[in-house]
Symmetry: C2
Subunit: 461 residues, 2 copies
Amino acid sequence: MTKARRIIIIGCGAGGGTTAQFARKTDRTASITVFEKGKYPQYSKCGLPYAIAGTIPEFLNLIEFSEDWFKKEHIDVHLETTVEEINIQQRTVLAKKGTARIEKEFDSLIFATGAKPWVPPIQNIQKNGQLLQGVHVLRTIDDGKKILAQIKKGKKATIIGAGLIGLEMADTLHKKGMKVTVVEALPAILANTLDDDMSEPVLQILEEKISVYTNHLAIRTEEHQGVITSLVIKDTPTGEEKKIETDLLIIATGTKPETSLAKTIGCTIGKTGGIQVNEKSETSVKNVYAVGDCTEYIDFVTNEPLGIGLGSVVVRQGIAAGINAAGSLYSLPSGVLLSRTSEFFDIEIAAVGPVKQGMKTLPLVTGKYKGSSRPDYFPGGEPIIIKVGVHEETGHILSAQAVGSNAAQRINTFACAILSKTPIEEFRKLETAYAPPIAPTLDAVTLACDVVALKLARKRR
Amino acid sequence: MTKARRIIIIGCGAGGGTTAQFARKTDRTASITVFEKGKYPQYSKCGLPYAIAGTIPEFLNLIEFSEDWFKKEHIDVHLETTVEEINIQQRTVLAKKGTARIEKEFDSLIFATGAKPWVPPIQNIQKNGQLLQGVHVLRTIDDGKKILAQIKKGKKATIIGAGLIGLEMADTLHKKGMKVTVVEALPAILANTLDDDMSEPVLQILEEKISVYTNHLAIRTEEHQGVITSLVIKDTPTGEEKKIETDLLIIATGTKPETSLAKTIGCTIGKTGGIQVNEKSETSVKNVYAVGDCTEYIDFVTNEPLGIGLGSVVVRQGIAAGINAAGSLYSLPSGVLLSRTSEFFDIEIAAVGPVKQGMKTLPLVTGKYKGSSRPDYFPGGEPIIIKVGVHEETGHILSAQAVGSNAAQRINTFACAILSKTPIEEFRKLETAYAPPIAPTLDAVTLACDVVALKLARKRR
């Protein structure tokens, strides 16, 4: 009888949990152990703003796979357990739960250690190594519960960072009746998601409901008896300072990959700071994998290294790591498409491929089209703006961004075109489904491509 | 000075109108003439059920390009004008408006003559060559107005044909408070749109609100003083007859291409009965084009001839004919994808590629997945069922069908995969956009593909 394969996974977020599931699907007899330092098994971090909003009734609803579920699958999950040491020669992991020590051997090891919130250098934001009272990050269920406890109708909330999570939280706090201000260091909101000309109409809608300061750095907080009272921000171009009174401050300025354990066993760390992994989710160390926010993979369009931060990619890496670690074979596409979407203040946005800023080395030609979800003669059409980016020489679609009706599903069609390297001349003739209540005869998806194709034709003349 | 190009278009529906527009865009100086036998310039036939329903307030709202619009574009539209004769040697068209005769020369001629409703052989449905009072087809604005005039709350309506138009009308009449019965000769509803297992859940929802008889032939009508009173139908398997009392009967059993004029000049008619056209919308006669419901083109998946009947395809043919007839170059894809969608009784359906029945010669492997538009933990997710068909040997996606949330936009992603010949192994790893309120981490689009991929792997083992 062959010995059962031993798989150890560090971290039980979406990446670690998915890895465990797919390892189990692939090898029914493997011994699978997951060490998770937090209190909860696999839950949706992306759902936190909606649990705070109350749209999702309870934080515990976010748990996608319970302890019982893992137990039934014979996956040994240790919660509130921290891995202290890995001995790569002896292939052992040493973990601690309270005062108890657990030592386990592995054949395959998977890092799913995630990322921790990055707090920008703001004067007086910490006291004795702790964030000031009223100041929060949002990464865990416990963070979410703390924020919820501080929400008070009519009071003032400030959010630093106008990325997806920042704006999802802005919507949540606005709906809860708080006066919301968003502060963003960059000149535009959603800078990693949309080009400036695409985020501009979103900003206009936001500004009807909340205050947004772009091009402003958060420089210091003021407090009373350890509780935040205001945030001082500085206009980057003019240097002018402004004080924003605030009862609640949320920092949504991104994360840093958690790689300290991986470093101790010599996993190569890439230039984005994440653990380098390949299409099988393997690290540079044999039989050691990594998945999720602690990793760095390749951008499909630019071929440049890319820090992973999208739940959809994390889950797909987990599938790959689980299947490969359990002895079968699964390869991811040669890069990440960066398909992404969100919804706030009743606007759906979505995009695929890098923003313009991220494609400086590529000969990019773009086209934009503003249309409607329905033919003109049919009442109730919703606006949709689509922008497409194409490689001037190959004619391949490199990116697409959408604001409005069914943005996400429209962007998925572009994702297929990017993955399949469909030339714009072919894709612009795509026969999209038409019916008056649902979509016009020619969808904005292809009409935006016609705009690019015209520009390309002119350039080539 | 070269002489201006002379273009004549017969028919001003979506096909003829679009041809005229794109001819004008391509050649600003051409003489463009359109002869239309009906009263109205280009309007949306697909919108008729919604104008009857009142969702579109007026029938005239359906007009997409007015006489004035054509005038401004210097396109000479003759309404209520019938082309009587074409002399292909002398390149002249003879048309009649009332008693006036118009003779015009052309360099390029385009048939956009459309199709006429096909009325099945039902005993006693006509009197003196006219449909019985209370019996209607739905093809024109005038048909729509006549139907609207006969709608009465609480009265009984019967529809023959459970295709898209039949069910759109069933929804309309149901909403207007009529008691609706649908009679379909085939064993399933929507037989040209969905496979039986996909139309089954749609039928279940319909049957909560209306009566549906599949496998039933309409055999005769009964009348009182020239007005229909009932329809007698026959159960095909058992031969049993049943009388359905009805105040209004709508025949939605499809159309026949109008090709009589094209035949007189020797255009090849294909085996579906439509005028054969190529990727430039050219007929077999030099400088003569045809577009729309009077034509036959190629099915992209089966390479078999296919009668054109989808507005989205008609418009694309019009683009091709207009640009080519005006001396530039535009080619359609090598076949029609058959992307199609509709919505009735609050169910959105969509599909691309032939139904199973239409792919008997291909080694088809299918997979189906029932999911939700949102992650399980997020309230308000709507059901979505997706079925995918794949070529067993090449792994290419051949078809996809969807019932439920955002079916049409989901199907467009498959349309791109079919057009790009994306193998299922690649497409199933497509990174779809994820956010809890919008879509789950893995969309039903790719999960349905996983089901097929598993079946394929088993078959290949």
